[in-house]
């Protein structure tokens, strides 16, 4: 049973990959064996294989665990077990060889075929084999949703997909002009809105999109990376705000359109405009007075906003605008000091979470009742040691855990937190760069199985580095 982890193990951390593998084997724990499986050779690899394939439940556990590396998945892969092969085909760490080894079963198992079709590590050869499988259309639909199919695969899918699913091919970057032309024949509203965005869309199709009465079609056209001057001009004055909003976010927008949108009737257009990096100072000042709070917030977040505007926005009636000022990298210290006394905790938290939070403000904010604020103080690199020590004893686990986001947290505090009652805190302590090797190795006796596995995983990664 899992309580065996409590056996005290005082040994020093292993110095070699072999010593680590042996330690994992002697622990008798499958999570340890999984973590070091990539380092094992010869008899030790056989021993790990035996441990991981001991019974079906174990193989399913290994295949279902989020951190299982490719080597361990390859060990437990068994094409004859339907549930097991589906788990492996869904696992993000499964490697191309393991996936290919499962493919013979795909013809009789549509669920497996669908998972293989979706897997990012599926090779072109595997995709080609899946394209020829007869049966339900779900695997083909899954293939059509993969990014970056090649032109031949797109053409083959066009032949095999049900007519109602062919629209997906319009999203494939490599679909090619001929296929886009075939898809555009009798294109309905949905198909037109997909094809209008495609780089291979014909002039005729673009003209249809520009004249379309359906706003999603015109909006899709506005999303094209390249537009003609005429298309841009027509779309920039589109009656619907959502089309203008897309245009307002385009890079290299002519100045005349930028100026036009400052007074656009839709705040949703002005919000996008206020976030443009190329906005001149005079327009930023105009937008800082906007009636919409999200427009003012976008100004307060703008990298070029002046200190004068930041001072103005720090007095804004809306806390989200003041919070944006509190987070801005150019906000002067006096303004931060004022915002650290804001009546809204959400605003004070913005100041507390600054990487450059001065020690004087950390002292003030450490007296705050808000957990968000205290978490920020805990993460700040300049927070004095005394405050960090106090926070490490805080009753709220989330405040203690926030300390581990502080890369400068002194080792004694990291060590203390590595024995915290809250497993997530211990897990983060394990990953902290200041935790000593010996303490990290001792954490293989942690009550939480995932942490014990992570200890072996950390030392295995160190061997590979």
């Amino acid at each position: 049973m899992t309580w065996q982890w409590l056996v005290t193990r005082e040994h020093a951390p292993p110095r070699t990959a072999r010593a680590l593998v042996r330690a994992a084997l002697s622990s008798g724990e499958w999570v340890a064996a999984v973590a070091v499986s990539g380092l094992a050779r010869g008899r030790e690899r056989e021993a790990i294989s035996t441990m991981l394939t001991q019974h079906r439940g174990r193989r399913l556990l290994v295949a279902g665990a989020a951190n299982t590396p490719a080597t361990a998945l390859a060990i437990v892969a068994d094409a004859a077990d339907a549930s097991l092969r589906r788990r492996i085909a869904s696992h993000p760490n499964a490697c191309p060889n393991t996936l290919s080894s499962l493919s013979p079963a795909a013809a009789a198992d549509p669920g497996l075929a669908e998972r293989l079709a979706r897997h990012p590590a599926a090779t072109d050869a595997l995709i080609d084999s899946l394209l020829n499988i007869e049966g339900p259309s779900a695997p083909l639909v899954a293939l059509a949703t993969r990014p970056q199919l090649n032109a031949a695969q797109c053409a083959r899918l066009f032949e095999r997909l049900p007519a109602g699913e062919r629209w997906r091919l319009g999203m494939q970057a490599n679909a090619g002009r001929a296929l886009i032309a075939r898809l555009s024949v009798r294109a309905d509203r949905r198909m037109l809105s997909i094809l209008a965005k495609h780089a291979e869309a014909s002039w005729e199709l673009r003209a249809r999109a520009l004249r379309s009465k359906h706003l999603e079609v015109r909006r899709a056209l506005a999303m094209r990376s390249v537009l003609t001057a005429q298309e841009l001009s027509v779309l920039a004055s589109d009656p619907h705000w959502s089309v203008r909003r897309v245009i307002a976010s385009r890079p290299l927008l002519p100045a005349s359109h930028v100026v036009q949108y400052v007074t656009d009737e839709s705040p949703l257009v002005r919000q996008v405009l206020a976030a443009r990096g190329d906005l001149p100072a005079v327009l930023l000042a105009t937008l800082a007075e906007d009636s919409d709070r999200w427009v003012r917030q976008a100004v307060a977040r703008h990298p070029s906003v002046s200190k004068a505007l930041l001072r103005q926005l720090a007095r804004d009636r809306d806390p989200d605008v003041r919070r944006a000022v509190g987070r801005h990298g150019n906000t002067p210290p006096q303004l931060l000091s004022a915002l650290s006394e804001d009546p809204v905790a959400w605003v004070r938290a913005a100041v507390a979470h600054r990487v450059d939070l001065p020690a004087s403000l950390a002292r003030r904010l450490a007296r705050d009742a808000s957990l968000d604020v205290l978490s920020g103080v805990a993460r700040a690199p300049n927070t004095p040691l005394g405050l960090l020590t106090e926070l490490s004893r805080h009753s709220e686990p989330d405040v203690r855990r926030a300390l581990l986001g502080n890369r400068r947290l002194p080792r004694p505090l990291v060590t203390r937190l590595s024995a915290d009652a809250y497993a997530l805190t211990r897990s983060q302590a394990l990953a902290h760069p200041r935790l000593s090797l010996s303490r990290r190795w001792a954490m293989r006796s942690d009550p939480d199985e995932r942490i014990r596995g992570a200890v072996y995983g950390w030392f295995a990664a160190r061997q590979c580095a």
Binding site: T2, L6, G164, A421
Partner: protein
């Protein structure tokens, strides 16, 4: 005084799973075991009463094979003073009535002043164990308790219950009693590493049904009043996209209606 907390090791499903060969439960290879969430709150409530003062003993009890020791260790780490496990192979297949009967036998042996159970278990969700237990004991029972202000040694317990429509019911219950505890009544603690290590060294008392005066006929399927016939995933509904021109779509739709109605359309 003594508080007995009935806890259960529940099973949660993996993302994918298979049904057992007999079709009556999930294949155990696809289950993840843990302490029932409601029972975590029950235990915390008992430990809070103990920590408030007075001579209070908290006893965690579960029914299950030695796999269930894991949840009892958790209870010991979180503040239970003793842990009891009742099991006999003949208990396999017990329904909530049989479980209630078995727990009642443990209660008669232990003679607690209060018994806590979770409102329900997250796996089988019968929400019946507390009621069945109180019925076998002839004790008062209150369900869905979300507030308890009880001082050790008193003969009544002021409680608050959750009702439908956001209503609350304040009441007083005579002790000894069985209370079914609701989530949110408190904030369960995390066990410290030290207490976890101490819990690992504490004994778990294992009882057989004969130790509490029960016979094979009282437990398992023989002692149950219900039985699972089948567990299954219902078939998903069918949907079909009708393609073609309006006329073609209308023709296909008419054909489907004709097919479903046997030609009456």
């Amino acid at each position: 005084m003594k508080i007995l907390v009935a806890v259960k090791q529940v099973a949660s499903l993996d993302e994918d799973f298979e049904i057992r060969a007999d079709g009556r439960d999930v294949d155990p290879d696809f289950l993840v075991r843990d302490l029932n969430e409601w029972d975590d709150y029950s235990l915390e409530e008992a430990v809070k009463i103990k920590e408030a003062g007075g001579e209070v003993e908290v006893v965690a009890v579960t029914i299950g094979n030695d796999d269930a020791d894991e949840v009892l260790r958790k209870c010991l780490a979180k503040g239970a003073d003793r842990a009891l496990r009742l099991w006999d192979d003949s208990m396999e297949g017990s329904d909530p009535i049989a479980i209630g009967r078995a727990l009642a036998a443990v209660v008669r042996k232990e003679e607690p002043d209060l018994v806590f159970a979770g409102v329900q278990s997250s796996d089988h969700a019968f929400a019946a164990t507390g009621m069945a237990l109180a019925g076998f004991l002839g004790w008062p029972h209150a369900a869905v308790v979300n507030q308890l202000t009880y001082g050790a040694g008193t003969t009544t317990a002021p409680i608050r219950r959750e009702l439908e429509g956001g209503l609350l019911q304040a009441m007083e219950i005579a002790c000894p009693a069985v209370l079914s505890i609701q989530l949110g009544i408190n904030t369960p603690r995390y066990a410290s590493l030290r207490s976890i290590k101490q819990a690992a060294a504490k004994p778990i008392e294992v009882l057989g049904i004969a130790d509490v005066g029960l016979a094979d006929a009282d437990v398992g399927e023989a002692g149950s009043r219900s039985r699972v016939r089948r567990m299954y995933v219902p078939e998903k509904g069918r949907a079909q996209m009708i393609e073609g021109t309006v006329a073609e779509q209308a023709a296909k739709l008419a054909a489907i209606i004709k097919d479903v109605t046997g030609g009456a359309a």
